[in-house]
Symmetry: C2
Subunit: 202 residues, 2 copies
Amino acid sequence: MISQETDTEQLILEAAKKVFFKKGYDGARMQEIANEAGINKALLHYYFRSKDKLFEAIFFNAFQQFIPSVVENLNADISFERKIEIFVENYINMLINFPQLPSFVLTEVNRNPERIAEMFGKIGIIPSVILQGIQKEVDKGNISAVEPKQILANIVALCVFPFAARPLLQIVLTENDTAKYNVFLEERKKEVSRFIINSIKI
Amino acid sequence: MISQETDTEQLILEAAKKVFFKKGYDGARMQEIANEAGINKALLHYYFRSKDKLFEAIFFNAFQQFIPSVVENLNADISFERKIEIFVENYINMLINFPQLPSFVLTEVNRNPERIAEMFGKIGIIPSVILQGIQKEVDKGNISAVEPKQILANIVALCVFPFAARPLLQIVLTENDTAKYNVFLEERKKEVSRFIINSIKI
DNA sequence: GTCTATATTGTGATAGAC
DNA sequence: GTCTATCACAATATAGAC
């Protein structure tokens, strides 16, 4: 199934993504998106009826990226520790590629909480599959008897937070040195795995 | 030192806090703040010159709450484990009282990263004191040799994230049931301590 | 499809009476 | 100090020519 999008439509989507990610819905300006795309405002409304509709397109797409597709690992025939290592590494790599994604999603998710329930209907129920996978490991006695909810929250928190709070943490942890903070993020791939695994060892 | 604020000024500050916390700087409207305070727009400009100045007052105050004053615990004569337990419990209790604080601070910190460096100058260097405290424990051989930076990032992430991403996590973890999610947050006080302590045990 | 020009409404800020 | 009325401009959206 090839999604046949015109060049202009694609151009608008990329420009809108850039501006919405940086400024959020309220801060973004249609004029700025038009400039970014090298066209004029009227064309934005021609392709997408309103600012809201344009945003919807961007947000839905971003949301799918935010829940990484890692379900396949859960069924793979590898140890739980290894699954966590792979999950964390993939997750953080994805976030390094889309560093503004967390702050964008968190901002908009708080701005308009109602929208999310609707989103989840379209995307499916990946999270509950993950929770069941963790519970299975507890039942088998492979890990200590902690709430799967808590473990999942911990994994996501440890991966996402350093990106969501980057401007703050970069000052506190690495004297506002961007290169140093990038190293810190790289090191986290191993550190987060280690932290999680240590915390659920029998 | 009694800060002599008029009733009206206090009224405005509370209204502004409410609206800015909910809508963010870009989403907030001076009219809405005026309504919330039961006065008119002109008075807002009489007390605070501009929207920006009013926001500055709110943000600076929120920011001080965001870095809880826990330095005293670092010097107390108790075990490192106990210090972490107290820190986490105080931190999460504070967040339960100001549940919108994380999303507010994260949004604004990403919207205007430049402002933060300046803020830190006014607030002082609490974070570096915490980092040194952790390093001391490593040196004494009380905990495993992990980077203090990573530990601090982990503690803050585990405490803050469930509040910052609440609309999302409440759907994923507790079927969008507010009461259930509050229980989850309560349980986290013990869980986070346990997770951190397990992960740094020798 | 793409543009310029314009309508329409929203919003921060000020003037001036009381 | 507090209000009403209003300014000045910014921003979304549309009309209509090409």
